[in-house]
């Protein structure tokens, strides 16, 4: 529409010429802006992916970091740690998030719900390091040790608003007729929700949870002062535990090229995780849906 409108006008007085030039300039400016944004993004993504893919191998997932200065090794303990941390975080974060989302969508449309929704949004905007501080003060300092548990508590708290929001939005997409049909058949509201509404929204909720897990799996700041990091295999959540982003952070500033290369490989894994989760969300929320 835009480009054609540049040339469609028949009259060519000086005034319209000026207006048409301004119009053309605005198109060029806007196009330049999106070109800059997309170029930066594609450059970053491709650069990180290409760099990372070079250094990615099986050892990355199965071996501990090599001794300083020697080659080889991997980030196996960090991959393992991230899996444990994120799994536990889901345990802490999904129930409150899920139930809050259900409550907001199904039960309450009054001022209380508005307040809760507001708080969920606020929680979503809190810098993640604050959750780290919170878990640090409440768990790490009293226990006198950094621990995987405190890290997963911090990550779990970050998951709550993401899951709550995703759940609420997905439940709102469930047609009202489904609820009415169930209620009309005599089912109480709680059975309607558990047996009709939730199953209908199952796919969306699961991907919302996956998205939240992918999001917190990339978090570094809250883990600094909680899980802290570790360069050995560790499955004890009461001990310091490694995580992929933590290891990437440490190795990035390492003086050894081997470790820097592994930081690139770690970034590759982190980006792939986000990419896969994003496509999963698109797929689950009905293809490339965008609210327009």
């Amino acid at each position: 529409m835009s480009v054609s409108s540049l040339f469609s006008s028949r009259s060519c007085s000086i005034l319209t010429l000026r207006r048409r030039v301004v119009n053309a300039l605005s198109v060029i400016f806007a196009a330049a802006c999106i070109a800059i944004a997309v170029a930066i993004l594609l450059y970053l993504l491709l650069y990180m992916l290409i760099q990372g893919a070079q250094f990615l191998n099986l050892a990355f997932f199965t071996q501990l970091p090599a001794a300083f200065g020697s080659s080889g090794g991997g980030m196996g303990e960090a991959v393992q740690g991230t899996l444990i941390l994120v799994g536990l975080a889901a345990l802490f974060g999904v129930p409150p998030g899920l139930f809050t989302g259900i409550y907001l969508s199904e039960f309450d449309h009054g001022p209380l719900a508005m307040g809760v929704r507001f708080i969920v949004d606020i929680l979503n905007g809190v810098p993640t390091i604050i959750f780290g501080l919170f878990a640090w003060v409440l768990i790490v300092i009293p226990a006198h040790t950094f621990s995987g548990l405190s890290g997963s508590v911090a990550l779990g708290m970050i998951m709550i608003p993401i899951v709550a929001r995703a759940t609420e939005e997905v439940l709102r997409l469930v047609p009202q007729e489904l609820r009415e049909a169930s209620l009309a058949l005599g089912a109480p509201l709680w059975r309607t929700i558990i047996q009709v509404v939730l199953p209908a929204a199952r796919r969306g909720i699961i991907t919302g949870v996956i998205l939240a897990m992918a999001r917190v799996a990339g978090e570094t700041a809250p883990l600094l002062m909680t899980a802290f990091g570790n360069t050995f295999w560790n499955t004890n959540v009461l001990q310091p535990m490694d995580a992929l982003p933590l290891r990437v952070f440490v190795f990035t500033e390492s003086p050894y090229p081997v470790q820097i290369n592994q930081a690139y490989a770690g970034s590759f894994v982190l980006i792939m995780m986000i990419l896969i989760a994003s496509f999963a969300v698109r797929w689950a929320t009905g293809g490339l849906r965008h609210r327009e």
Partner: protein, 331 residues
Amino acid sequence: MPQGQVFVEKKKDGRWPAWLMKAGWYLGDMLFRGILLLFVLLTVGLVLGIIWVLISNSLPTIQAFGWHFLTNQAFDPVHNIFGVAPAIFGTLVTAVFALFFAVPVGVGAAIFLAEFCPRSLRIPLAFIADLLAAVPSVVFGLWGFLVLAPWLFHTGEPWLQQHLGFLPLFQGQPHGLGLLAAGVVLAIMVLPLIIAVSREVMLIVPREQREALFALGGTHWEVIRYVVLPFARVGITGGIILALGRALGETMAVTMVIGNQAMPPGWSLFNTGYTLSSVIANQFGEATPGLFLSALLEAGLIVFLITLLTNILARLLVAQMGRTRIGEFVV
């Protein structure tokens, strides 16, 4: 189904009496609602808990330094003198620098996506922008540390010095790592947020209003200038404030590229510095109970309050557009 109701007999057709069914529904719903409310309270309590933990633990420094905590230059654990003036300076400078570049590009890109973009391109482009928002900040930090900072050191900063060196912003010794690098990384990180919010508010401008100006003979730019932007202004402002809050609170990427060393106060963007959250990220390891720990938590409290304020403001502005939610959900 209500269980254990031995005194009530089923009707002949095997159904429970209606009043009992109703009571059962009512109780079940109340119970279900109660369980949900419990978790809702947990979520709400989390925010209150964070506020309480931050305030109660920063009391020692609040009592020891009062407002001077905000103006003291030194963050000196050895002499037990704590102030976050350089951190606040670093936080504000990097965030403002980031917005200075991200706002025009972001709003321009949003105009393209909402107005000029062919339909078939709109969704993939928006998806790409959304994707950028989801990349972990440590990845930006890695790029900033290993690619951007060396480039700035060897090429970018000398060039700026040569051509724009008359500005106080671009004087002094190039370091690579520093406020400039942090600002650039932050600009890239908040760009997708500005694009997403601006695009969404522009897309809800009523069709009739655009068509009215088109019918009057307006060019597409005039429609944008006199219809779309005035309508969307409040929402775009909300998005910018949201981005500001994000930039002020960002920890990891900034910590990795800002240098984390205070320099004598000055206006040069080449200087290294630190921000409120990078202080926390760098110092927590050495923190000893007492003033030091309390100082870190007060820094956290300030970050929290700033982002709380920006978030509330942004949501209120966006709510004026008739939208309760913006962006962010889809990746």
